[in-house]
Symmetry: C2
Subunit: 325 residues, 2 copies
């Protein structure tokens, strides 16, 4: 296996294309500026998910615009002209950010979190948006919202981006001139109305961990049910398919930034479903790129079609084990 | 409005048929034996959801087979030859049943509950199944499992029903000779793979409260997000549509036993989606029957088609207000 890893590392900086030449963009998930260098070393072509929570946790007050700008800029500079998808603060009642004074909730995973929270805290939200737009100037920034369930939430979020832009412009501060606006698809509702959402966003990034958790009503941090929250469950695969089919007529790109993206067992089914981008832990990139190079689009499509019709996550796992190359 | 109620009560015992003669079965949700009489008085044609939790809560030990049999029998007798859909114990870590020694969970709504729990407690499960089968002898019993997400769970549950039957037979105790086995569709996964589940169940009853809660990742008991968990969200309506389309080729009936069934605002859209049965709080039955009588199937279908294409629950509400008769 370590030989496979060695071989994969050799080609880590080559693009990931199927045997018939279809290219998949491969990006890294980042949890902080220190990880940008490794991402590039392992062959990332960009950042598919910049988690911004690290800046907000375990402290007494939220970081101000200057502090955030400096950190985001360090990351943008580290990635040069590669695209960076920054997710706005994705936090909820289960996270240690006491200064937000979040209510105690019986089911925090079904509570105020992600975009729901930041829409309730406009000052916090706009500060982050201004910092992102500042750091994005001269780079390839995309902004992504977590936990979206309706078009209305996107209209509201876009309004705050415009406000942030207007603010910076009034202060004569340089900001990213254009940036794509996208959403995480991690609540089943977003996948189910992806055709409506496709009219108001530029891209979709599927968060398969949360999507599996909600689709199967199984807390992925609860060891008693964690086996149920399986992103290879046919129901989750069907939601992914729905998003891709809804995005295509609108020419929106669709990626995955959940753990599934970095799991080579899932590679043929994800190729077959037609994903444009896979974003993962940097360490997984070389092997996933190699896995992509082992299939034709037609083979992958046939594998996906078969998997979609199976009865359970266990059957999908067994089937993909058989198909692994 | 009270005049409408008076008028509706007059026709409460007539069947509910659309203007073009399509009949919808109207049933009551029951929380205990005392409610059977009122159900029939308000025009219920059966029980679409018998919640069995009342027998298990706030006590020191689970009820034994004899106690359960007596209570279920009282209900079956109260309903005569009308069908009664009994849901097996639907309990989880958030409910007061200390004798079950359930683990404390961070997100009990995403934890061990419903069928997940009873499959882990075979003795408890089989005791209830034996009691139900005994009470069902000579009546029209159907058994329904909550929180299903895969075919495998149904195979396991069916195995326990066979065990319960064999047990009773060995003891020469009379049991229901045949009963339909169905599932609640309340976890998004069940709706998404309804075509697979349709091969192994006899009916589907959609629990729109939980289905909305999971589809929108919004705890319906959390006042901060309760507005989000709206069963009229287009995503939930699309899941209902998926279940009906998956059930039809297998000739399985599909009902709703969530609050949506008793909401006359929703009646035309539910008719249009093609539901076979609506089960609700008995008090709502007369008005829902009257509402059904005001639409043709074609009108209802056109209303449903329109609602399915809207952007948000708010838009669906506004649209249905316009269409109300
Ligand atoms: Mg998430
Ligand atoms: Mg339920």
């Amino acid at each position: 296996h370590s030989q496979r890893q060695q071989e994969a590392l050799k080609y880590a900086h080559q693009p990931a294309t199927t045997l018939d030449g279809k290219r998949i963009e491969i990006a890294a998930n980042l949890g902080g500026p220190a990880e940008a260098k490794a991402a590039l070393e392992y062959g990332a072509e960009g950042v598919g998910l910049l988690r911004t929570e690290f800046l907000f946790l375990n402290r007494d007050a939220a970081p101000d615009e200057e502090e955030q700008t400096a950190v985001y800029r360090e990351i943008m500079q580290g990635m040069g002209q590669h695209p960076v998808v920054a997710r706005t603060l994705d936090i909820g009642g289960d996270k240690p950010a006491s200064y937000l004074q979040l209510p105690v909730e019986m089911n925090p995973f079904l509570g105020i979190r992600g975009l729901r929270l930041t829409l309730m805290l406009p000052e916090l939200f706009q500060t982050q948006l201004r910092a992102l737009l500042r750091a994005g100037a001269g780079h390839h920034l995309k902004i992504m919202f977590p936990m979206v369930t309706s078009c209305e939430e996107i209209h509201q979020a876009r309004y705050y981006i415009e406000q942030a832009r207007a603010d910076l412009s009034a202060r004569s501060i340089e900001a990213a001139t254009y940036c794509e606006i996208g959403i995480m698809v991690e609540v089943p509702a977003a996948a189910l109305i992806a055709d409506r959402l496709a009219e108001v966003v530029d891209f979709f990034s599927i968060g398969t961990n949360d999507l599996a958790q909600y689709t199967l009503a199984a807390d992925r941090t609860n060891t008693s049910v964690t086996g149920l929250a399986d992103a290879l469950h046919p129901a989750v695969l069907r939601l992914i398919q729905m998003v891709i089919e809804a995005a295509r007529p609108h020419h929106r790109w669709v990626g995955i930034c959940g753990e599934l993206a970095g799991d080579t067992l899932a590679t043929p089914v994800l190729l077959g479903l037609g994903l444009d981008e896979l974003s993962m832990n940097a360490l997984a990139i070389p092997l996933v790129k190699q896995a992509i190079r082992r299939y034709t689009s037609v083979e992958a499509r046939s594998i996906a079609t078969h998997a979609l019709a199976l009865d359970s996550a266990a059957e999908v796992h067994a089937y993909l084990q058989q198909q692994a190359r």
